[in-house]
């Protein structure tokens, strides 16, 4: 039994019905997780399986939904694990992973800035890359910028 199977088994025991499915065919094993319980699963992965760093947290606009993607890495085991969850496009909301990994703080601010995903319980959820008075979330597929910004015409 390899570690991924162990992880899946453990999660099924601790958090039943959270794990939707696993995908193995890609580059790394992927765990598809229920949106409401994603943070407990992440905490479990950190504490029990040694995924001590969150390499990357990002989102992707799939047209009808927004995918939230966590890339976890465990230095001692040299193992990468991807955790994915699906958010609704109209009102994307998810619990923050800031308490699990500190690096999530800025990743989530960036996702909030560019995708408009709201992270519940985040300590400082403000725009990070764009100006505070910017309108819209640019990395969404249907994004159209405001006609001008402080008197400067936005040509897009």
């Amino acid at each position: 039994m390899n570690r991924i199977e162990k992880i899946v088994k453990m999660i099924r025991k601790e958090e039943p019905e959270v794990l939707l499915r696993t995908e193995e065919e890609g580059q790394f094993p992927v765990l598809r997780v229920e949106r409401d319980r994603v943070v407990p699963v992440l905490r479990l992965l950190r504490d029990d399986f040694g995924f001590e760093s969150l390499m990357c947290e990002t989102a992707s606009d799939r047209g009808d939904r927004i995918d939230l993607i966590y890339h976890l890495f465990s230095t001692p085991h040299r193992e990468t694990l991807v955790v994915k969850t699906v958010l609704s496009r109209e009102k994307p909301q998810v619990e923050t992973a800031e308490d699990v990994w500190k690096s999530a703080n800025w990743y989530e601010r960036e996702i909030f800035d560019l995708f408009g995903v709201e992270f519940i319980g985040h300590s400082d959820l403000v725009r990070i890359l764009l100006p505070q008075d910017w309108v819209g979330h640019p990395l969404r597929k249907d994004y159209r910028p405001a006609p001008e910004y402080h008197g400067m015409k936005i040509e897009y």
């Binding site: 764009l130 994004y143 910028p145 402080h150 400067m152 015409k153 897009y156």
Partner: protein, 163 residues
């Protein structure tokens, strides 16, 4: 025609003091503001250093806009940054000049279709010399500066507060 000009033979050449010395002083001592945004900043920096040596022309970097005569906008100008550039330009004392360095500052360059990039710094501040390239070689930047010096030589007035 003043009285003096009448009395003197025609081949005497009259000029104002600022036509000669003032201009000469300004063109030989263009202190540029260290205004680096993106990639071109590295080439700007290398121009100031050992191999190319801006100091030969009397050009030295100043950190504060109050003491600089020339603003070299090196790199991409985003909308967020544009407001600061406007402000920094306003803080520079007259006579002041702007060199737009690199495609991004000239017209948006490769980022012309980006939602957050201003398509050319000349939309917010007046630009004297455009240096093309992505990024321009130090030689190109130096030529831009020499062109600016020529421009200073030819301009009717040094202080252009009305522009």
């Amino acid at each position: 025609m003043g009285l003096l000009e009448h009395k003197l033979p025609e081949n005497v050449f009259f000029t104002k003091l600022d036509q000669l010395t003032m201009r000469w002083g300004l063109r030989n001592s263009l202190w540029y503001m260290l205004f680096a945004t993106a990639c071109c900043a590295i080439e700007l920096m290398q121009t100031g250093m050992s191999r190319y040596d801006f100091d030969r022309f009397g050009m030295i970097p100043r950190a504060t806009p109050r003491q600089s005569d020339l603003m070299i906008v090196a790199g991409t100008v985003t909308y967020k940054m544009a407001l600061r550039i406007k402000r920094l330009y306003g803080q520079m004392p007259e006579p002041k000049y702007v060199i737009s360095m690199g495609s991004c500052a000239n017209c948006g360059g490769g980022f012309v279709h980006s939602y957050s990039v201003l398509n050319g710094v000349d939309k917010i501040i007046p630009v004297d010399v455009y240096v093309p390239g992505c990024p321009p070689r130090p030689e190109a930047l130096m030529e831009g500066c020499m062109k600016l010096m020529e421009k200073i030589d030819q301009e009717p007035r040094l202080v252009r507060s009305a522009r």
